[in-house]
């Protein structure tokens, strides 16, 4: 195990976050806070409780997930895409670093940033909306699992993309709609029966449902199924990344 390499990549990526503090931390916190103000405090006061939870509190887990997923993808995809774009990836490829070590460094750093951001958003949300966490360990578990899974997914996008536009396509055109339609702002039980069935094909539903369960003990889907689906998605991402490094697909000629 090349421990020094893992640490070098991790520290390098974390340093990038501190260099771009406004973009990495302040900007997502401000935009999420706007959701809390508009949907939680202003509009939410006119909407009834959902499953015994006030609307303002109900949307907290969904909004944390929304930011967590998009930032995990963004951090990890830029982390590996920029060396490819700038050509500095030659150094990683010529170093005695295994694919597992590279993933630990890049994905570990991207997930760490997202977890830090998620924690800060939770603290910020408390300013606008009162909420409680019934299962804090499960909450931390879902937070970390989602951060790692979507960082892995972002890593794959960063390798797949051959331009800045492609980097944005998946987060903006797929992940954000799936998150909005995955129960961030509503319970899927509020949908007509047909759309409830359709929504179950959206993997994000399981992540948000499980995360929300850790807060309030209520969920759209059984928490075990949520956990299982998250682990399945993580496994798919791990297999894909392993294949990419093994074959050198889009990295080596």
């Amino acid at each position: 195990m090349n421990f020094y390499a893992v640490m070098a990549i991790y520290k390098f990526e974390m340093a990038r976050m501190w260099r771009t503090l406004f973009q990495s931390i302040a900007s997502p916190i401000i935009s999420t806070s706007l959701y809390f103000v508009v949907f939680g405090t202003a509009i939410g006061s006119r909407i009834g409780d959902i499953g015994g939870v006030t609307y303002g509190a109900f949307i907290v887990p969904g909004l944390v997930m929304l930011t967590l997923m998009s930032e995990s993808i963004s951090n990890a995809s830029y982390g590996i895409y920029m060396p490819r774009f700038a050509g500095t990836i030659y150094e990683l490829l010529s170093a005695p670093v295994s694919s597992m070590e590279a993933i630990l460094g890049y994905v570990g750093a991207a997930a760490s940033k997202s977890v830090i951001l998620g924690a800060l958003i939770l603290v910020t949300a408390r300013v606008f909306v009162p909420y409680n966490i019934q299962h804090p360990l499960w909450m931390v578990g879902f937070l970390m699992l989602t951060a790692v899974t979507f960082s892995m997914f972002g890593f794959i996008i960063g390798i797949w993309a051959d331009g800045f536009e492609k980097l944005q396509v998946v987060p903006l055109m797929i992940v954000t709609p799936l998150t909005f339609l995955g129960g961030s702002f509503y319970s899927i039980h509020m949908l007509p029966p047909f759309w409830q069935k359709v929504t179950l094909f959206n993997p994000v539903v399981y992540l948000i449902s499980g995360f929300r369960w850790s807060f309030y003990g209520v969920s759209d889907v059984d928490v075990r199924i949520s956990l299982g689906m998250t682990l399945v998605f993580l496994t798919v991402c791990i297999v894909l990344v392993w294949w990419i490094f093994r074959t050198g697909h889009k990295i080596k000629n």
């Binding site: 050509g87 150094e91 005695p96």
Partner: protein, 308 residues
């Protein structure tokens, strides 16, 4: 011969169909400075990139210090350093930070004293906290060299390191290369400045169209393939080479003032004495004599031209 790098029957075809390397076999001796010369697109960078792990080989075997670059990549890569052709650096990082990153990436524990030494040797120490984006092209090139040396490699690849570098820096770099060789580092360089290879390299390899045309000791190469000439400046111009000189390989310059005699310096009888005697007998007076030998550049151009 103690080969630190051994390439056997290496071939590479890119997805585009470009046949970049064709059955290349090459041994690099431990502790030597080896210059790999070739025109653009000859396969120099592909060869280096495969040895360093950046490009997947097609077929063939490459050993570095006796270890296979694929199955024992950790061992081989940890002893190889690469200065790439392009100025590719993390421009928002500081000089010191990027060098520490490189050292860690190659599995070495932090060593501030070593990093300071390398940065001082490359006149970068006073820029260690400077962001790379603010440095000139020449200084960025030094940073790339510092990064390549960060993990104390025993084999150093320099892929056209002096391209776009001013004369002073180029001289500094070659002094540094000689110093590295003194410390036991094997250097493999590609360059377009053939006179540099002539000055610095122990052996020369010439590659063209993905094939190694020849590998030879620099002096042997010049002796074998170089032309030596004797030029005689005449007192009075002549319109053609006089009768009685047919056994000598002579040429007359267009102005009729110089006779050029090609000779084999290694032959027991160069023919010079006979020529001078014949000139005297025939009353051809000359005012000056000088001899010259072909430069490595001339040899290189001739070889590549013949290969085309």
């Amino acid at each position: 011969m103690d080969a630190i790098i051994s390439v056997k029957n290496l071939s590479k075809t890119y997805a585009s169909g470009q046949h970049a390397l064709k059955n290349v076999s090459l041994d690099i001796r431990r502790g030597e400075i080896f210059a790999l010369l070739g025109p653009n697109g000859a396969g120099k960078t592909t060869l280096i990139s495969i040895i360093c792990g950046i490009v997947n080989p097609g077929s063939g075997i490459v050993l570095a210090d006796g270890h296979d670059i694929i199955t024992e990549y950790r061992k081989t890569r940890s002893i190889i350093g690469l200065v790439p052709q392009e100025l590719t650096t993390d421009v928002f990082e500081s000089v010191g930070a990027t060098m520490s990153f490189s050292r860690g990436l190659f599995g070495k524990p932090p060593d501030d004293a070593y990093i300071e030494k390398v940065l001082r040797d490359l006149s970068l120490w006073d820029r260690k906290d400077t962001k790379i984006i603010t440095l000139s092209g020449g200084m960025k090139r030094r940073v790339l060299i510092a990064k390549a040396l960060a993990h104390e490699p025993r084999i150093l690849f320099l892929d056209e390191p002096t391209a776009g570098v001013d004369v002073e820096l180029r001289r500094d770099m070659w002094n540094m290369v000689r110093g590295l060789r003194e410390s036991g580092v094997t250097i493999i360089l590609t360059t377009h400045y053939i006179e540099e290879a002539e000055q610095i390299a122990d052996r020369i390899g010439i590659i063209n169209h993905g094939e190694i045309i020849l590998v030879e000791d620099k002096h042997t190469l010049k002796r074998k393939l170089g032309r030596r000439q004797l030029k005689l400046t005449l007192r009075n111009p002549i319109s053609r080479i006089p009768e009685g000189f047919s056994e000598f390989k002579l040429e007359l310059t267009p102005d009729g003032m110089t006779l050029v005699f090609d000779f084999d310096a290694n032959a027991g009888e160069t023919g010079i004495a006979g020529l001078l005697k014949r000139l005297d007998e025939r009353g051809v007076d000359f005012s000056d004599v000088n001899s010259s030998e072909s430069s490595l550049e001339e040899i290189f151009v001739n070889l590549v031209r013949n290969g085309n």
